[in-house]
Symmetry: C2
Subunit: 381 residues, 2 copies
């Protein structure tokens, strides 16, 4: 297939582009490389030293003989986006190209407005460009499990069968997102659902859990192909951040009570889920939602796992509970369906000690690059 990966320079996008290229697909990347600018804005960095996008795709070509075309620009620039679509005529548009940090969106009004405009307008432009240029193209959009929030009922995959006053309907699952970023994803979901209903677009919305790990078979082929790994209080996510804290002798910092429970998945499952969605496209007019995660953990679960694996490797780390910088329930019911991707062939790579050890060893390898002042959260809700 001819696949365009928007945001293909990022943490999920880069390994997805490599994996799909390795599977024999014709892959192009469109990315404005703004994630690298945010490192500069925040005085932060990737734990791993990442090459430029040009260096990355050139090395990929040298090693595998496969070409990944690149287009540098902004999805919010419709002239640019429509030109890219006309040049590539994708069968599948994989859309990772959004500002994806909740704390970044909560820094202040400017960052909230930027996040919502960037994400919503970028996705609106994708909708219109696909509608006008490649109406058969299957849009695979990265959503987030965070769209649902933490309702006191089971979370279903996108839709809920509701019985009310003697009548019945299947309705979009109610959304209670917890940050300006998560709200932007909810807005996208509503816009995409409308586009499917009204214009017959075909969309798979992947409500992804928290991703851990950094390597895939492809990124391990060469140091120039290494993926980025975030550990700072803005872009770092729970498990990766805990392992890095343990490696540098920092306390493992749980926000609040630590009973916050979420869905998690290994990055190697992320890339596989994209392939599964691409191989099994949504129908015309169908807005399809998959919950993309493999296991549920509380933050306390993850802190304990990180502590244990570090200890096995000879690193002692305390677990401390910080005042929660976020407004969220710290003890709550959480149970979310996630069978649709498994039904289509996903074999989950679970969070075993081996997996934890492999991440930890990479972390130790690069720990001299950690900027200690960035590890603690500075942004409050």
């Amino acid at each position: 297939m001819n696949i365009l990966v928007a945001g293909g320079d990022g943490f999920c996008g880069w390994p997805t582009a490599l994996y799909l290229s390795n599977q024999g697909h014709e892959v192009s990347i469109v990315d404005k490389l703004i994630r690298r600018n945010w490192d500069e804005e925040l005085g932060s960095n990737s734990l791993t030293p990442i090459a430029t996008l040009d260096e990355r795709v050139n090395r990929w070509k040298t090693i595998t003989g496969k070409t990944i075309r690149t287009f540098q620009g902004d999805l919010c620039d419709y002239a640019f986006l429509s030109d890219v679509i006309k040049q590539t005529l994708p069968d599948v548009f994989v859309h990772f190209a959004e500002q994806r940090s909740a704390p970044y969106s909560m820094m202040d009004r400017e960052h909230a407005v930027f996040t919502q405009v960037n994400n919503v307008v970028g996705t609106l432009n994708v909708i219109y460009a696909v509608k006008e240029i490649v109406p058969d193209c299957h849009i695979i959009k990265l959503g987030t499990m965070g769209e649902y929030g933490t309702p006191n009922i089971d979370i279903e995959e996108g839709f809920l069968n509701v019985r009310h006053n003697g009548r019945e309907d299947v309705l979009p699952f109610p959304k209670q997102p917890g940050s300006m970023y998560h709200l932007s994803k909810v807005h996208d979901s509503h816009n995409l659902m409308f586009a499917c209903r009204v214009w017959g677009l075909r969309v798979t919305d992947l409500n992804q859990g928290v991703v851990y790990g950094l390597h895939t078979n492809e990124t391990l082929l060469d140091p120039i192909l290494v993926n980025r790994l975030d550990y700072d209080g803005v872009f770092g996510t729970a498990l990766n951040r805990f392992l890095i804290q343990a490696a540098i002798g920092h306390d493992i910092t749980v926000y609040g009570e630590g009973g916050q429970t979420r869905g998690f998945l290994n990055l190697v499952d992320t890339v596989r889920c994209i392939e599964i969605a691409a191989n099994n496209p949504a129908d015309h007019g169908e807005f399809r939602v998959f919950n993309q995660f493999t296991e549920e953990f509380s933050v306390n679960d993850l802190a304990a796992k990180a502590q244990k694996i570090a200890q096995n490797e000879g690193y002692e780390a305390n677990i401390v509970h910080l005042e929660n910088p976020r407004v969220e329930k710290e003890q709550h019911y959480y149970h979310a369906a996630h069978t649709k991707l498994v039904d289509l062939g996903l074999s989950p790579n679970l969070l075993t000690d081996d997996v934890l050890r492999t991440i930890f060893q990479t972390v130790v390898q690069f720990k001299s690059r950690v900027l200690h002042q960035n590890v603690l959260p500075k942004i409050k809700w």
Copy 2:
């Protein structure tokens, strides 16, 4: 109370500002007057000849002795908005200042993006300005019944008690809006709900039905105070548009089968509902939703009423069914709760023949101003 009316030059905003001023409140208007520019963009006009905002408030002052301060500018300009809030320190922020036409939002990509950015960023700025400058201020936000779409169950006022797999929760009512404009209102609702939960803001979201009529006691005091009345295919809404069609000898044009059913209310109830909400503010942290309409009608019901009243006044009009320019169900279940405003004291002004006749007589008075080429719908979904 000290009340700031955003969008106070518009169809609902202007009579609301006058009514609240007449009730003794200290009223200010903030408006960028862009609605008047859209008339120019579309080559359209108000059926009634409307004065400038300065002429309007000056005449109001002359007649009643009451001052309405005005600020001309854009809610999307945060420096401007925060300056207005600092100057006025409102107890109540009434927010009408959005692009409110579904067809306008569906003209093309540019108008869709404009509508969503304008409405979402304007409301985000209101959220941040209130949070930072007047955190006790009660935000009264105009939403729309169109946020709900047409589910096959009863529509409740904002929230739904859900029982699922043996558990229970009260969740936001699922939203299935039918245009890029209606989507922008859904985005606003999610953003506002979050702001209440996280920052303790106090918000009443008025999901308003389709408004008919144009006069209030205050706008009738002087011709310079007359309200605007839209009849074109972009900004005109069902009942008002039908009466104007009948008055100029045009067919009454029903879109599709005409079974589309919606909630409706008289403009004189709109202004009263704002007062009721203001007098009974939401609590800190409360996101409160009222469904603001008084009666349900199908489009066919309204066409028949318009035809009959026109006939009584000596005007013959045929009812014709056009191919529906919108994507919507033309026969569907519709039943929506609307008791909360009544419980707080609303006495509905229903759609009687007298009410219809009064509107029709105004329409006849100004019918020479109708631009016939604007009456039919030109924008398709």
